[in-house]
Assembly symmetry: C2
DNA sequence: TTGTACGCGTTATCAA
DNA sequence: TTGATAACGCGTACAA
């Protein structure tokens, strides 16, 4: 039961009457080693149940095989799926992932990055906080020459690898779809914050209207926090104002859900009276009644891409490769909430 | 931009004309040190921007401040919430969490544990795979004297700390609630697998019936995988058989959702014709129409508890404290899907 | 192809 | 209270 002493390369060396260096080389596949000793080493390593000590190796080599991953909230489908994606790629390359969450608080963000650096991670994959306007902690990462990959919530203030989805395109697809279903008075739920992704979604919405010769109506655009309650409030406001509308494109599934509730409470039919499209592809969207049309951001693939960029940067490092920005194309998932014309 | 040389305790020592040992002691709050030198050390540490090297410390002390956390699936609300809970406690104690997922495959499970051990984690918090019947990899953890905490999916084959919810009680509450709403012919969706938690839920269901003098009817119990499709199939089977039923207690929200769909498709009213209760408190349950009554397992709290048990075991370690099993009491979240009697 | 020798940064032990 | 020294386990110039 007790902490049986772990075997080290020295134990193997002793048993074979060679030195630890030889064993180290044999285990690492160093070419400057004879086949016979290599075989012997591997054999006794198995026999003695040798497991390499990553810590010692890390201290010596400066590589921990650890990736620090920072997300705003671990338990949100979008983010946990991205973690999943990163973990899949990382594990396949014998890397491990440390996760931390910022809860959108700058202080936590800074502490997490610092903790990652202290843990001597080989690099960081992060999504920056909603309100973060200060990027020194990230700059430090870059100054140390460590790979830093940003996903979803990125910033032009950092010259580094990024993965985002094409928010403009997602919004354009969503709005176009509503237009093709015959909607002409389409409301939009968005947020005031200065995050690029919402600006892009708004732009996609406007451009789609334009392309269908529909004049934008500011009275149909609502800003809030894009939560369920906001969606409810916006929809109630719409109904109260008596402003005619036949479709809603919400930049978030939650606000779309709020709209669905209020519309139903008021006896309006979805999609006949009002067609509804959300954004995020939250798991619940397929379970609403009617199921909610939404935009898939492919979070697992996003995780894969982020990890791939990471390893790309890790291997390039010194060669100062130009930071890549990868844009993932979203997909419109059409469900009953927007299908006026049966196909 | 280049990898500026990190300052070490030696740099501080040199500057102050003391030895590294003194600096180390000062930084670690060792009592055998004068206040003046301690202050001086801390001051120059700040000046030189000193950051401790966890790796070196880990190699020397044998403690990495890392927890290996193994879950079946990272991107499932229940599990990601538990990860969140563990992370919160761990971070507050300056520990980091490495996550891996098994995807319910024994092989992945073994590899993950092995990887954790190689990374020299200070211990492991895990939920075992659905089909895992072989626990040698976990026994190895215990044999090395490392803390191992199991949550949700546990096993009597391992003598170690565990956190589970009281599945029996959750099921009992759910079924009792249906009975109090006037249901007398209550169907149950479960799974054949030999996992304790589903057996317990079944037991809770039976005992509740018994306590209300309702004779159990085997024709109302269905086994499957508890996914949406299973719930749909079970409900269709119920309707086809013509077996009368006025309530369903599903051991999973997904199967309950399937039931809701089929009932609505057949023009049955929820809860008037059939009252519905699920289990898990998946996020989508509050968004269904009607919202689904379900059982909350308090996953974040579960994570907190698991982490607390972990640190308890870590600090006890040699003293061979008896492995604790913590049972969390679930809560019935009553929503419209089961509320026949308006309160 | 293998061995020698040293260092990565920290901490534990012993001595002063 | 502080210093000197060694050691944690591994990797890598350099030499042989």
């Amino acid at each position: 039961m007790e902490n049986t002493k772990k075997t080290t390369i020295h134990d193997i060396a002793e048993k074979l009457n060679v030195t630890a260096s030889t064993v180290s080389r044999a285990l690492k596949g160093n070419p400057r080693i004879s086949d016979s000793t290599k075989k012997a080493v591997l054999k006794t390593a198995r026999e003695l149940n040798y497991e390499p000590n990553h810590i010692a190796s890390a201290l010596r080599s400066g590589r921990t095989q650890l990736i620090g991953m920072l997300v705003p909230t671990i338990n949100r489908s979008f983010f946990s799926s991205i973690i999943r994606g990163v973990e899949e790629v990382a594990n396949s390359l014998d890397y491990r992932v440390i996760v931390s969450q910022s809860n959108e608080v700058l202080d936590n963000e800074e502490n997490a990055v610092k903790a990652f650096l202290n843990a001597r991670v080989d690099g960081i994959i992060a999504s920056i906080g909603k309100n973060t306007q200060q990027f020194d902690h990230y700059k430090q990462v870059l100054e140390r020459g460590l790979p830093l990959i940003l996903f979803d919530r990125t910033t032009p203030h950092l010259q580094t690898g990024q993965v985002v989805i094409d928010d403009y395109q997602g919004a354009y697809l969503a709005t176009t779809h509503l237009l093709e279903q015959g909607c002409r008075k389409i409301a939009h739920f968005t947020t005031e914050r200065k995050i690029d992704i919402y600006k892009e979604r708004y732009r996609g919405y406007l451009n789609a209207l334009q392309d269908y010769q529909v004049k934008p109506n500011e009275a149909l655009v609502f800003s809030g926090n894009l939560q369920l309650e906001d969606g409810r409030a916006h929809t109630k406001a719409l109904l109260r104002k008596g402003e005619a509308f036949d479709g809603i494109f919400s930049a978030s599934d939650y606000a779309a859900m709020g709209a669905m509730q209020v519309l139903k409470e008021n006896g309006l039919k979805i999609p006949e009276d009002v067609a509804l499209v959300g954004f995020l592809n939250e798991p619940f969207t397929s379970f609403t009644d009617p199921p909610l049309t939404t935009v898939n951001q492919f979070p697992i693939e996003m995780g894969h891409t982020a990890a791939n960029l990471f390893f790309h940067a890790l291997n390039a490092e010194k060669k100062k490769i130009v930071p890549k920005k990868t844009v993932i194309q979203p997909e419109l998932i059409i469900r009953a909430s927007s299908l006026k014309k049966k196909p």
